[in-house]
Every structure is written in structure tokens, then in C-alpha cells.
Point group: C2
């Protein structure tokens, strides 16, 4: 599958980067300012980014531009509110023809907890990326569950689903290949068609957040059961 | 459980009314103008409302006001866009202390197909009903699936979930009792807390609509699987 870039150095980006190197990929993890990110101390008792990074010689830190140039596929694990700025910094040349696996969510924390969304009904963050960076091939997937479940579906023992949406069939095939390497069965992967399906996939987040507060454990997922 | 009112004479209202009389309830099905509704001819080869009604002597037609006065519990099966007007016509006196099971969806067809929603992120139709008619006790439930599955969960053979949300515990207990009589197991009913959870429950509709177009059969539902 080749080199993979991960945009975003927080826990979701780290979770994907770790999993990808365990699968034999070379990974570059992109951030706005490498020096600043490496100097950051760990929050809430967690190891700092640089402490975490030391454990994984096959994960290289880089700017968004360097990571975009490096990766054949780019996993967008930035905060939704910072996504478009990150792609702007990556630069159109580095993004040309790249497959973007967008796992981010357009969460709006400005009105307090729980978060709502900063897109509404007839728009989605995935479509905003695709529209602003038409040289990319955006595939929305995995945003509907916890990052640990994303990269290791067996954490939820029963069958459950990974949805995906995008306008480019070859890009979707590439993302499906990645999902299978993460452990998703063919049966569990549901292709919902073009990128406008991202609206529904992002709009599921408020229910996910509420379910988390009821179940009190983020290791759950949606399964579609049919008659 | 006593008398039940159903607001809305279209297929969703009919589906609930039929199921309720089969369970031994007396049902009044409410509409804006009874005479007009009875005179309506069937659309798309379906029997007209009056033809359908002849088969069920225990279902009485009435105005929204009459139905609200009749029912101890009111099932809101109107179109989302007509919901507040229907409650306005029902009248505050008739609505006083009534439990409203709101199964409607705030679907917006004004921008073409597929529909989107006419509420956004920090609001829901269920909350609008509760706010505009504070004398009622609104419980949101069942809006996340096809009407046939709502009243007969066994149509989807595997386990799946009915979510519910509301601010009044006694009202939720009453709705849970109704759900159990429809065939929902205790395990399948997930109480998501207060009525703000309706936002997430209504926001799931765009994904539901997309899944329907992919599965090509409306007899499916969401199941939450846990680790």
C-alpha cells in the first residue's frame, strides 16, 4: 500500500500511526509546526508527543506539506475545526491526486458540552475538503466510532459496520483495502455511495456522543441489521 | 393502557392505529378536517383513508382537538412540517398533562430529494413541541426506523434498538410500556436521557435515508454493539 501520511498528532492520529507501522507501513505524521509539537508536554498524565514518538522509529514527524508529499494516502485525523487550515498548509501541489481518508468530525465545542456540529444538513466537512481541494480524492470513513475501534474492529466482538462514502471509485477501493488490513471484513464495510453521504455520517456524531454518555464506555459501534 | 390518540392519517399513523387496536386499545386518529380526510381518494393505488378505516371499527376519526381530548397518550405521526400546526389545533386544554410519543421527523423536502432536516444541530422538533406546549410530556422514540418495524420489531429478526428520550420519567415509563406491547424487549429499549437527545435521534435520518437507498429495503434498523 506504500507510504501513508497521518494529519494530526493527537490521540486519534497516534492510534492510526501506531497501527499502520505495525502493519509494515512507513508513516509520516503531519503537524503545523514540528518543533512546537515536539516541545509540547503531555496533557492529563499522558506521555508527550515526543515521548510517544520515540517508541516508533518508523513514524517520522513532518509538516503538513512534508507529510502530504510523502504519503500516497493521507489520513485526516485533525480536529474538524482545524482541517481546512491543515490542508491549506499542505499545499495544492503536495495534495495532487492524493487519496484522503477523512476520519474527522466537524465538532463545534463553542456552545459548551456536549459538542454539536459546525456544518448543517446540506453540507459536510468531507465535502468542504473535496470542494476546496479538488485535486484530492476524499473518502469519508470511520468517523462514526472511537479511534481504537477504527483500527481494531475486534475490540467490539460482534459484527458491526464501517461506512464509507466518496466520489472516486479507485480511491474507495484503496480505502477499503486499508480497512481490510485494519481487520474489517468485506461484509462489515458498507459503501454508501457518493460523498454527499458524509452529511449523514457526520450527523450521527451527536447520537454517538449521547450513547457514549449512557454506555459509559467508548468501545461500541453501530450495526445495521436487516429483515 | 387506556385510550390512545394518533395524530396523522397517512401510512405511519395508520400503521400505529392498526397495531394499537390489535392490542385491544380504543384509538382515535386525528386529522385537521375529518370530512376532507374521509373524502380523499387513495394515492398510488393504495386504498383511501375511508376504505382503510372501514376495516377497523375500533378506530374512530376525529379532529386533532377531539383526538387529543380522547387520548391519554398521543402518538405524533404527522409530517414534521405540519406537527406544530396540528398541536396548535389540538388546543392547550386538550393537551394538558398528556404524554406525547413523538415519532415524527423534521424532514425538509424543499431542496429536493433526498430530504434534509429543517432543524439544525442545537434544536429538534421534539424540543419545539415541548417548548411550545409545556403542558405536555414529550417523549421522542421510534423515529429512527420504518413504521412497520416500529410496531413489530420482529420484522428485523436479529436484536436491534429502540432509543427514547424525554424530560419526564413517568411519561417515559408509559412509552416503554407501549414499546414492550409492540414487541420491544427491555434489553432493546435504550433510554438516552433528557429530550435534548432528540437532536441526535433526528439527525440520524439522513443516514437512514441513505442506507435505505443502498439496502433497497426499509426493513432494517440500527443496533448498538458494545465491546
Amino acid at each position: 500500500m506504500g507510504n501513508i501520511a497521518v494529519f494530526g498528532t493527537a490521540i486519534v492520529g497516534q492510534t492510526h500511526a501506531e497501527r499502520l507501522v505495525s502493519l509494515g507501513h512507513d508513516v509520516m505524521i503531519g503537524t503545523r509546526n514540528v518543533k512546537e509539537t515536539l516541545a509540547r508536554s503531555g496533557a492529563g498524565g499522558k506521555p508527550s508527543f515526543s515521548e510517544w514518538l520515540k517508541k516508533f522509529p518508523n513514524i517520522k514527524p513532518g509538516t503538513y506539506a512534508e507529510a502530504a508529499a510523502f504519503g500516497e494516502l493521507i489520513i485526516n485525523a485533525t480536529n474538524g475545526s482545524g482541517t481546512l487550515a491543515a490542508f491549506e498548509l499542505a499545499g495544492k501541489n503536495n495534495l495532487s491526486a492524493k487519496v484522503i481518508l477523512d476520519i474527522s468530525n466537524p465538532l463545534d465545542f463553542s456552545k459548551g458540552m456536549p459538542p454539536s456540529l459546525f456544518v448543517c444538513n446540506t453540507d459536510s466537512l468531507a465535502e468542504q475538503i473535496q470542494q476546496k481541494f479538488p485535486e484530492t480524492k476524499v473518502v469519508k470513513a470511520l468517523n462514526t466510532m472511537n479511534a481504537n475501534v477504527q483500527v481494531n474492529p475486534a475490540l467490539v466482538p460482534e459484527d458491526h459496520n464501517a461506512f464509507l462514502a466518496g466520489n472516486d471509485e479507485a480511491a474507495k477501493t484503496k480505502v477499503k483495502e486499508l480497512l481490510r488490513s485494519y481487520g474489517w471484513s468485506d461484509k462489515s464495510i458498507m459503501d454508501l455511495g457518493d460523498l454527499t453521504a458524509s452529511r449523514g455520517l457526520e450527523m450521527i456524531l451527536p447520537l454517538w456522543v449521547r450513547l457514549w454518555s449512557v454506555i459509559k464506555n467508548p468501545m461500541f459501534n453501530f450495526k445495521i441489521v436487516t429483515g
